[in-house]
């Protein structure tokens, strides 16, 4: 049982000019199940961190009040459980049972009660393995389910879920949603942040919409909120049911072959694959986790050598033998995690790096950088450190860096992962435009909507 009250709440992280969240008035009663929505940058995660008591007093400036059962959240930590996005950094112990027991030990639960409570929590989330199972042997969805059991074992009155399925493939996400649905009872107050609203709706009975810097924009039962604000929310980037995205079909047929894999395989990671990618075509590579999709993307991108078979790319030869600078003019690779590809300290330098390595004249470099900043709505951030960008901004930048050297072929690994609707549509439009300009696009993806909206052809890998 827990009740949440926010009055004029605001928080500004130390060293930032803008408030992360401001002017929030909200009351959540015992046992209510609330979906918290809002575009990127509306402060949803900050609000959750405040409720979890994880905003240290000296790490920023507060405004208004936030209370859980009348207490400062920093003093009500025992009443609150949090599940974060990334399963890998939530598991502490190497065996599943030990991991669930970890929180109970911390809270000083008597030793005799620990194991019964561990078993109860594992059963509550429908965990299918024994206590001795190694956490490293679990899939992402199972890991996240285990992390949920670790949170529930502490019997929190308030459960906070911060996009718990954003890093998971569709099967893993379904697993976690199932576990949450199973675990909820009348005594648990739920606050859930989730981009994909349709998936989250069965879990909640109330929707609260935050506006960047503007407090609560809408509040009420899901049906009423979406009827009144659906279009505006979709426009702002929230995935609202009933607002489909129109497909972008190719204007012309495919052109010449840009890359060809002939029986290309990597021992232990990818079974022999045959595939060709053409100019003026979007090819989607799909398949279950563990089928080697990302490895195939690395082979096509000239970043890895096949252990058997061959990869040939235009103009000639095996791309993994090319010098890096030459590679960037022919094939651009965009990684799943944008931060892996950042190597400078400013957004503008990130874009200038490729053209400079090719020895392009300064004036031309400036023109390319300015053009890309404008095209991908990054001009305002030209001087920012790439590591401080939001998920959507970082994704746009990582695509822009690949485009800076104008390669004919673009290979992307899960480009739409965890993106809000607005960035998603921008990416689809951008890639459709590149295709119609005669570029080839290969995208490894789990995202069925993305395949439906953009792909001209689908290559499915089997495990």
């Amino acid at each position: 049982m827990a009740e949440v009250t926010l009055r004029g709440f605001g928080w500004r992280h130390a060293g930032r000019r803008a408030w992360a969240v401001r002017g929030v008035d909200l009351r959540i009663a015992h046992g209510e199940r609330v979906l918290l929505l809002g575009p990127s940058g509306a402060g949803k995660s900050t609000l959750l961190a405040a409720l979890a008591g994880l905003l240290a007093e000296d790490s920023g400036e507060a405004e208004g009040t936030v209370e859980i059962d009348g207490l400062d959240p920093r003093k009500a930590r025992e009443r609150v459980g949090v599940l974060f996005q990334d399963p890998e950094t939530q598991l502490v112990m190497s065996r599943c049972g030990d991991d669930v027991a970890f929180g109970l030990e911390n809270r000083g639960v008597p030793a005799a009660e620990i194991w019964p409570r561990v078993d109860e929590a594992l059963a509550r989330v429908g965990f299918g393995h024994g206590r001795d199972r190694l956490t490293a042997a679990l899939s992402g969805g199972e890991q996240q389910r285990l992390a949920l059991a670790g949170v529930l074992a502490l019997r929190p009155g308030l459960l906070l879920l911060d996009e718990p399925t954003a890093n998971l493939d569709p099967a893993g996400a379904a697993l976690v949603r199932g576990a949450v649905a199973r675990a909820l009872d009348a005594d648990t107050t739920l606050l859930l942040v989730e981009h994909r609203v349709a998936d989250a709706l069965p879990l909640v009975d109330r929707v609260v919409v935050l506006e960047p810097g503007g407090g609560v924009a809408a509040d009420g039962p899901p049906g009423a909120v979406f009827a009144a604000h659906g279009a505006a929310l979709a426009e702002a980037g929230v995935w609202i049911p009933g607002h489909p995205v129109a497909p972008r079909r190719a204007a012309a047929g495919p052109g010449e072959v840009l890359v060809r894999a002939a029986g290309a395989a990597v021992a232990g990671r990818l079974r022999p694959a045959d595939l060709t990618a053409h100019a003026g075509e979007v090819l989607a590579v799909t398949g279950p986790n563990g089928a080697g999709k990302s490895t195939l993307a690395l082979l096509l991108g000239g970043l890895m050598r096949p252990t058997s078979g061959a990869v040939e790319a235009a103009p000639a030869g095996a791309p993994h033998r090319w010098r890096a600078a030459a590679l960037t003019t022919r094939i651009g690779s965009v990684f799943q995690d944008p931060e892996h590809q950042f190597v400078t300290h400013r957004v503008a330098d990130e874009l200038a790096l490729g053209p400079r390595r090719l020895g392009r004249p300064a004036a031309e470099v400036d023109r390319v950088v300015a053009g890309l900043l404008d095209r991908l709505r990054l001009t305002r951030l030209a001087g920012a450190n790439p590591y401080t960008l939001s998920g959507g901004e970082a994704r746009r930048l990582s695509v822009a860096t690949a485009l800076a050297t104008a390669p004919r072929l673009l290979v992307l690994d899960e480009p739409t992962f965890g993106q809000d609707r607005r960035t998603w549509i921008e990416l689809v439009d951008l890639l459709a435009g590149l295709r119609d300009d005669g570029h080839g696009v290969v995208a490894v993806t789990h995202d069925a909507d993305f395949v439906a909206a953009l792909a001209d052809r689908e290559h499915r890998l089997a495990r």
């Binding site: 030990e105 502490l154 790096l353």
Partner: protein
């Protein structure tokens, strides 16, 4: 690095299943006296004792060899280095390798050093090969009064170590995709290495921070006295092991002193 990888087999052998803290203390106490001597016979006897104890730890020689090979490489390296470069060249000439006079004195010294390295490090390898890291952390907290914040924090961080190898590979490929490669230029190679290492470090710190937040969210910083789900016991047999190890070692050193083979490190 095979010896450092977080693999182990939970042991049921008489010494293998002793309390991890007792095993660790025994290993340290057994090897400490061996540092004092330069002769090859003392560590050779100690090594023989260690190898004789292998079955008591439930370790097969092949398993030990798989884990301890870096140690043998290090020992071989020491022999080669000393044979070539040792300043003191006493004793009879065995063979002249070009400018290097290999004498009995040099060989004796090199052999002593190599055996010392192996004899001192091997017990550590034996302990870690038969100890579950979770049990070690538990025992450190419960039996050696190491703060839980340190022992369990280190244990959790340890779990992330295998990820670093994959991460390095990914970062290196991501740099190539950005047009960065070093070719044959050693300076460029060093710069690229440094920048990749820095990115790895930044990523590791971020991941570590996220893990720390998740741990604190589950009450790790609560300050209430922790209870333990897995009780580690320190029994009379564990005490006996901790007492017997240095006693055995002292006997070995005493015998080498009495028989006159002992060559003190200092003096």
């Amino acid at each position: 690095m095979t010896a450092l990888l977080p693999t182990f087999q939970a042991s049921t052998a008489p010494l293998g299943r002793r309390n991890p803290v007792a095993k660790l203390a025994a290993a340290v106490l057994f090897t400490a006296p061996l540092i004092a001597t330069l002769d090859p016979l003392t560590p050779a006897v100690a090594l023989a004792v260690e190898l004789a104890a292998l079955p008591l730890f439930g370790l097969r020689p092949a398993e030990l060899a798989r884990r301890a090979w870096p140690l043998l490489v290090a020992a071989a390296g020491i022999v080669v280095t000393l044979v070539l470069f040792a300043a003191e060249r006493t004793g009879a000439l065995v063979v002249a390798l070009g400018p290097f006079d290999v004498t009995t004195g040099v060989l004796w010294l090199a052999l002593g050093m190599a055996l010392r390295i192996v004899a001192i490090a091997l017990p550590g390898v034996m302990v870690f090969a038969t100890t579950d890291p979770t049990d070690l952390a538990d025992a450190l907290v419960q039996n050696a009064r190491v703060p839980a914040r340190f022992a369990l924090g280190a244990l959790a961080a340890f779990r992330l170590v295998p990820l670093l190898g994959q991460e390095w590979q990914l970062l290196a490929m991501a740099r190539r995709a950005r047009g960065l490669d070093a070719g044959r230029n050693p300076a460029a190679r060093l710069r690229l290495f440094a920048s990749t290492a820095f990115a790895l470090l930044v990523g590791a710190i971020r991941r570590g921070t996220r893990l720390a937040v998740a741990m604190d969210a589950r009450g790790f910083d609560a300050g209430t006295p922790r209870t333990v789900a897995r009780r580690q016991r320190f029994t009379a047999a564990d005490t006996a092991l901790v007492v017997a190890a240095p006693a055995l070692s002292a006997v070995i050193v005493a015998v080498s002193v009495v028989t006159g083979v002992f060559r003190p490190l200092i003096g």
